[in-house]
């Protein structure tokens, strides 16, 4: 695709805003109206001898095909093409780069130009973001803009999670793994007003956005560093809380296993690990849609962490009292008859044994 096909900058900007408004409205129609129609039309009945027959019937249903097509292509339109978010950021490239080059408080952002990202990180353009979060110094801005609408973009999601976790224990030292452009780290800093928060991520671009956009009131307590969550080199037992938001499902199963073991090393005795992520829904239709979402949204690892016996893996890493909880990102999210499609949010939370013991 080439750039916008008009030359007037004001019209370009207005056209792009209108285009994105169209895409967002279509996504609302897709997640509400089309989902509700699909549910009505494929109600499971006694003619289905088993789950495989139900799945085959759903997959072949015309409304499901429309649902799948729109999910795939509305996401493509959001990012790609002359009015997509990537091109929108390109139009303001010089201004944005200048803003992200402004000086930061000493120690607030530590980038590692020698960091070699793991192989799985570059294999797919996750979320259909062309080029992903690698390379382009403005990729983090694109990502921030992309999640700025919809449930994933609502700050309440992060606040709710941070409050749920910090109610269990008031941490003084927090590590946020895969912190992206900072929202989860900021939410934990706000929920634990005396805590120091370190956010780490592989993406230099996201970390740069995070550091520059940290609210002034949090700047003395939040820092960001470029590092791999499974090999950060941070000191053992140096955090009361290690957390992640939407990280596990972006890693292959073997890496999630490494991550659980690493959190056992990083969390101090009596401390907590808490992950906010997705687990496959029990409802057969929702499960089919969730599994399809993995492919349609370029998230090939989405289902892999759900294959892990997380209780056993955490016990081996020195944790006890593991819980998995359904998580409501909005007040009505867990209503059984919710009339819209949603991601199946879950919280995995575990406490480290006080004596530091592990079961191996």
């Amino acid at each position: 695709m080439t750039g916008p096909h008009t030359t007037n900058r004001d019209w370009n900007s207005a056209d792009a805003a209108a285009y994105q408004r169209f895409v967002c409205a279509a996504r609302v129609f897709w997640s509400n109206d089309l989902f509700a129609a699909l549910r009505r039309q494929v109600q499971r009945n006694e003619d289905d001898p088993g789950s495989q027959a139900f799945e085959a019937r759903v997959e072949a249903h015309p409304t499901h095909r429309m649902f799948a097509w729109l999910e795939r292509h509305l996401q493509r339109m959001r990012y790609s093409g002359p009015f997509g978010l990537v091109e929108g950021v390109n139009r303001d490239r010089d201004t944005l780069l200048a803003a992200l080059s402004q000086p930061l408080p000493e120690g607030m952002l530590r980038l590692d130009p020698d960091l070699s990202p793991p192989g799985y990180y570059g294999e797919y353009d996750i979320h259909q973001h062309p080029g992903g979060l690698r390379g382009d110094p403005l990729a983090g801005v694109v990502y921030r803009d992309a999640v700025g609408s919809g449930v994933v973009g609502k700050p309440a999601l992060h606040q709710r999670f941070a409050q749920l976790v910090t109610r269990r224990r008031a941490p003084a030292r927090i590590l946020d793994l895969g912190c992206g452009f900072g929202r989860s780290a900021w939410a934990f800093a706000a929920a634990a007003p005396s805590a120091r928060v370190v956010g780490i991520d592989l993406s230099a671009s996201c970390l740069t956005v995070a550091a520059h956009e940290t609210p002034a009131a949090l700047r003395e307590r939040v820092t960001f560093a470029q590092a791999d969550a499974v090999a950060s080199g941070l000191p053992a037992a140096s955090f009361d809380l290690v957390t992640s938001t939407m990280l596990l499902h972006e890693m292959p199963e073997s890496v999630v296993r490494e991550l659980i073991a690493e959190t056992g090393r990083l969390v101090a005795d009596g401390g907590i690990v808490a992950h906010l992520d997705f687990l496959p829904p029990r409802d057969p239709l929702l499960r089919i849609l969730f599994e399809g979402h993995a492919r349609r949204n370029n998230e090939p690892f989405l289902l892999q962490h759900s294959r892990i016996d997380v209780a056993d893996a955490h016990a081996r890493a020195g944790f006890s009292t593991l819980e998995t909880l359904d998580f409501a990102e909005e007040d009505d999210a867990l209503d059984p008859g919710l009339p819209r499609w949603r991601l199946p949010w879950n919280v995995i939370v575990a406490t480290k044994n006080v004596d530091g013991g592990t079961r191996r």
Binding site: A14, A18, L34, R65
Partner: protein, 89 residues
Amino acid sequence: MPARDPDPPRPEQTFFDDPVLDRLMGATIALAAEVYMLRSRLRAVERTLAGEGREPPAIDEEAERRDAMAFVEHILGPTLGEQQSRGPL
């Protein structure tokens, strides 16, 4: 011999029995987006004319969102595959 592209484009996913339908859907939705953009431009011009050539009043974001939803419901309503009046199956 020219160097081989190390990562050529991957074929797009398909959802219909005939992949041509997938591609035509893409063109149809792209056209719908173009119509919506033209409609937004036209409204901006109308607002300017209504103000006798002066700057148009500020955009009402909520009204724009409502308009986008109504437009999309019109365009995508047929994808639901449900009769709007009760007729024979």
